[in-house]
Every structure is written in C-alpha cells, then in structure tokens.
Amino acid sequence: MGDHQLLKLVHIRHKAVVRVMFVFVVLVTLFNLGDTLQNYHNQQKYNMSYAEFISTKKQAAKNKDDFYVNKSYSDYLEDQHYLIKPMRNHLYVPSLVSRIVTIISYVVPLLFGLVLAGMDQASSFNAAVFKSRFKRKQLFATRYWYGLSCLLGATTLGVGITLLGYFAGIPATYVGISWLNVLGLLMTNLAVNSFMFTAGVAVGSIFASLFGMFVFGLLGGWIGMSAVQHFLINTVMINHSYRLLRSHGDQFFLFLFVVAFVASAAVYWITRWLFDRISLENEGEILLLPKLRWVIFVYALIVVPYNFGNWLFQNELLSYSVSIACIVALGFWWMQRERAQEQMAAR
C-alpha cells in the first residue's frame, strides 16, 4: 500500500469524493431495493387465474416457449411467491445478479476511478507529489488501492443492504438465495468494480485535461467496448466451444471472472508504467504522454469504422471511407493544436 503518510494524504485529498460516492451508492441501493420489494408485493396481488394460466401456457407452446412445459398451476403459484427462483447449488444466478448489478454498477466505478485520478491531475496535486519525496508508483498504487477499497466497501455495503432488505421485506422461505449465490454475487461485484475502476483510473491518469478525459477517454472507451462487443457477437459467440463453455453455467462464470481480473491487472500495470513516465509539460492538452497519440490514432482507425459499420446509406465502402476520413481530420486537428501550444509551453 505504500507509505502511511501518503495514504493519509490521499485520504485527505479524496475524502469528499469518497463520501459522495458512498452516499450515492447507498441511495441507489435503497431506491433499487424499494422498487424490487414494491414489484414483488404487486406481483403477489396480481396472479393469473387458472383460465388465464392455461391460455398463457397454450400460447407459449405455440411460440415454442418451453417455460410452462411440465408446470402445473400450483407450481406456477408457488413460483410466484419466490423473489429469486432458487438455484441453490449455483454460484452464478443471472436473475439475482441482474437485480443488483445494474448499469449504474458499471458507471459508478468507472466515473469514480476517473474522478480520483483525473482531479489529481487537473488540480495539480500530481505535480505537488511528483516534486516531493514520494515515488510516482507509490502515489499511483496508494490512490488506486485506497479508491478500490472504498468502492468495494460501498458496493459490498450496498449488496448487504439489498440482501438484508430482501429478507426483511419478503418471507425468508421465498427469498430463494443461498450462500453460494451470495458468493457469486459478491464475486461479480468484485470483478465489475475492479475492471471498471481500473479503466476509469487509466483514462484519468493518461489524459491531460478533463476535456480530454471525458471527450476522448470516455467516448473512445465506449466506442472500443462496443466494437469488442460487436466482435464477440460476430465471431466468438457463434463459436461451438464458446457455446459449450457457456452451457456450463458456473464454469463460464468463473472463466469470465478470471478474464476480468487478468484484464484489470494488465490495465493496472500498463497505466502504472505510463504514470511513472509522465512529464507535466503537456498538462491541459489532450494526452500527458504525446507519444501515445499514435497508438490512439491507430486504435481509433480500427474501432470507429468497425463499430459504426455501414452507418451511411447502408453502404460499407462509403461508411468506412467517411469514418476513416473523420479520424484522419481529427488527427490533423489534434496535431495542429499541439503545435500551437508548443510555442507557448516554455516559460
């Protein structure tokens, strides 16, 4: 974790942001919990009648939906009492995870990581620490682990409040969650937070201004993720071995868990290595490490056309050409802008 004085310094510096994050996570948790409980109790009031059940069952059979196959009306009524359909021996329970790990669970760690790293850069806190006795790696690591611990603390508290809320608001027999399910949920929370927080820290550490972080970093990251998703859907997900792995529920989950950790660790080490080489004459610009602009340029040339595909008149050639032309134009603008700044950089 590094020097305890540096930890204290990081704590003083980020106390307010951490508090805001904590309050936000707890509020979102309570809102989510209230919504879930309300929906559950509404659902108990509006069960289908026997006639409606039979009609729905027939309709489902016509649509080749096997959900109601081998299910009697009493089974249906029993199922309706459950918040989560019991899957006691499973680590990963999609219906439980999707109730708690929502889109906000992805956004909060990303923004929190970005704000922690970005505000230290934008406010010149990094500059002050670079001049002091502390090593840059020490600052990076201390801030990272401090932020991640606070984040995991807040989100784990959120998970805890939600689970307690379920048991308080719903008869315990019908909550349908086992300890193994909770372990899977906590592992998901850990993986999501680690990866998204690390990505946020990377964007906040490499970009030189809030403008660069949000416009280039977040937008670029989003386009990149979307391109990866496209790639997975078009290639990996139609692959036979992938489908086979996916059918092994918990094994697949463990595989994704390991992938998330490997990716987080890789991004962490690369960002720390880059942070160690930052020279602050580029602050206020787009990138703190201008040499990286070629990497970003190539990245944009790959992900933007691929992600947007045939967006223009459904014509691939036209769409790819316009996308590439836009990236090249943006690249020129970037270089011209930096050249003008260079003239003023020396003081």
Binding site: K8, A127, I278, L280
Partner: protein, 295 residues
C-alpha cells in the same frame, strides 16, 4: 550539502528549451535566476524538481541524483504558482497537507508566521489578496525546512510593503547559512539588494554566473558627455550603452581595464561621472543586443 545541476536538457515539443543548464548552489546563498519572460526559468525549476522529465543531464544533491526517484527531493521546496492544488483549502489544512509531503515541515513555524501576518488558520487561501497569498507561500517554504528553496517571480505584482516583508523573511532564513534561495525574476530591480549572485539564462544555457561583488570590481557604470555628438570608438568597442539623452550617455563597461580607462580619458569627456551599478544594468547589458537602439 551542495546542489549541482549539470548539462540539464529539456525539449518541449520540438523546441529545445533547456540546452545545457549547469550551475551549483552552496548553503547560505540568495541566488537570482534571471532572464526575460519565456526564456525557460520556470522550466528549469520544473525540470530540476522532476515535474518535467529531463532529456539529459543530472541534478545532484551531494551524491544523490534527483532526476531519478529519490527521497532526497524533499530537500528542495518549490511552489509553482500555476500548480496550486490547495487554493480552496484553509491555511491549517494546507499546513497539514505539506507536513505529510515534507517530513521536516514544521507546523509551529507556519502557524507562527501566518499569525505574524495577521492571518488565521481557518482562512481559505483563495479568499486572501495576492500579497497575502505570496506571504503564505513564503511561510510554507520556510516551514518546510528544506535547505533549498526555489521561488518563481515571488514579487510579481506585489506592493512595496509586502515585497519588503518577503525580503526580510528570506534574508532572516539565510542568516544561519543553512539554507539557499534560488529566486527567478525577469525584473532585476526586484533582486537588487537581495541576491549576492546572479545566474543569467539565455538560449537554454546559463550564459553568465556573476557574483555581484566580483562584477562591481570589474564593471563600472559611467555617465559621459563629449564635446561632439559622435560616440567614441572605445565606447562602441568595450561599453554597452544603456541610455542616451541629448549628449549624455549612460554606459556600462563590463570589463573596465586600465587600458579602457586610458582610452576613455584620451577622448577628453566634458563629464565623466561614476554611477552605482545595479543588477538591472547588468540585465540590460546581458540581454540587450550590443548595437540595439537606445534612448
């Protein structure tokens, strides 16, 4: 404990801002770092303190190279006016923060100084006037107990009274011979009576390293009037004209040898009066082109 900068280089974009910065500082000095705006004084400070990663050269504090990761960097205190992350902090919180950054930071010294300035620990830095902010910066520098303190244009835009308070604080701090101040300024008049040594920065190098006492032994500033309006060859060759008013010429001879004196007397000036040589005069001599228009 000596600080030696050797062949320090820094390139920003394609521009070589620092080409070969070499100098050394010993304890107990007040040294001026002088050059026009935009010459790279701040870049020197930032490169020495590793905000900017140098392209070459070393900064040695005794046997420790400060251009690499080094806990010895706490021996240098440099507050960059453009890099103040604590503008919104209360003064007491700034002190707490700096106590964590600098192990030898003395909070009682800081409290004593701000009390002396009539300030309270609860006041926020951004709520203070420019002059008081400058005093707080100096208080931080003194409380850091760092043996080397870099001040960048510390008197810029300050009134005479605040300037005098800062000068007194700096002089008091150096009195025990343990601390050294390197003060960057584009205005030599500000350093007059404060610095005993001046480093001139020109074209990415330390072009001159002058000890004021030595300079005053070698150089003279004269006010001369000749019978004709024509400027004698000895002045053109050996002198640097600061000012011409009618037939009155103010000139500095950087190296006033007996030969130069004899050549000058041979021109039989109507008026030949010695004037006190200031740092501002030396600045003009160093940075004004030799045959630049004066008047």
């Amino acid at each position: 404990m000596s600080l030696t900068v050797t062949k320090l280089q820094k390139k920003i974009g394609n521009r070589e801002v620092l080409r070969d910065i070499s100098f050394s500082l010993m304890p107990g000095q007040i040294v001026g770092l002088v050059g026009p705006n935009g010459i790279g004084k701040t870049t020197i400070f930032r490169t020495i303190t590793r905000q900017y990663i140098p392209n070459g050269g070393t900064v040695m504090l005794d046997h420790h190279d400060l251009t690499k990761e080094s806990p010895q960097r706490a021996a240098i205190f440099y507050l960059d006016q453009q890099h103040l992350f604590f503008r919104k902090y209360a003064l007491a919180k700034i002190a707490t923060t700096y106590a964590l950054l600098y192990p030898s930071f003395d909070q009682s010294t800081f409290s004593r100084l701000i009390k002396k300035f009539g300030l309270a620990g609860g006041q926020r830095l951004q709520s203070l006037s420019k002059g008081y902010q400058a005093l707080v910066m100096v208080a931080l520098a003194l409380a850091s107990q760092a043996p080397y303190v870099f001040l960048d244009e510390p008197f810029d835009g300050l009134d005479v009274l605040i300037r005098e308070r800062i000068v007194n604080l700096v002089v008091d701090a150096v009195a025990d011979g343990q601390r050294t101040f390197l003060i960057a300024s584009h205005n030599l008049a500000e350093l007059d009576g404060l610095s005993d040594r001046v480093l001139f920065v020109k074209e990415g190098r330390i072009s001159r390293d002058l000890t004021l006492e030595n300079v005053r032994q070698q150089a003279v500033k004269l006010q001369l009037v000749f019978r004709t309006k024509e400027i004698p060859a000895v002045i053109k060759q050996h002198g640097r004209i600061l000012n011409i008013r009618g037939r009155v010429i103010e000139v500095v001879f950087p190296d006033f040898t007996p030969d130069v004196q004899a050549s000058l007397e041979a021109e039989q000036p109507v008026l030949n009066e010695s004037l006190p040589l200031s740092l501002s005069d030396l600045f003009k001599v160093e940075f004004r082109k030799k045959h630049a228009e004066v008047g």
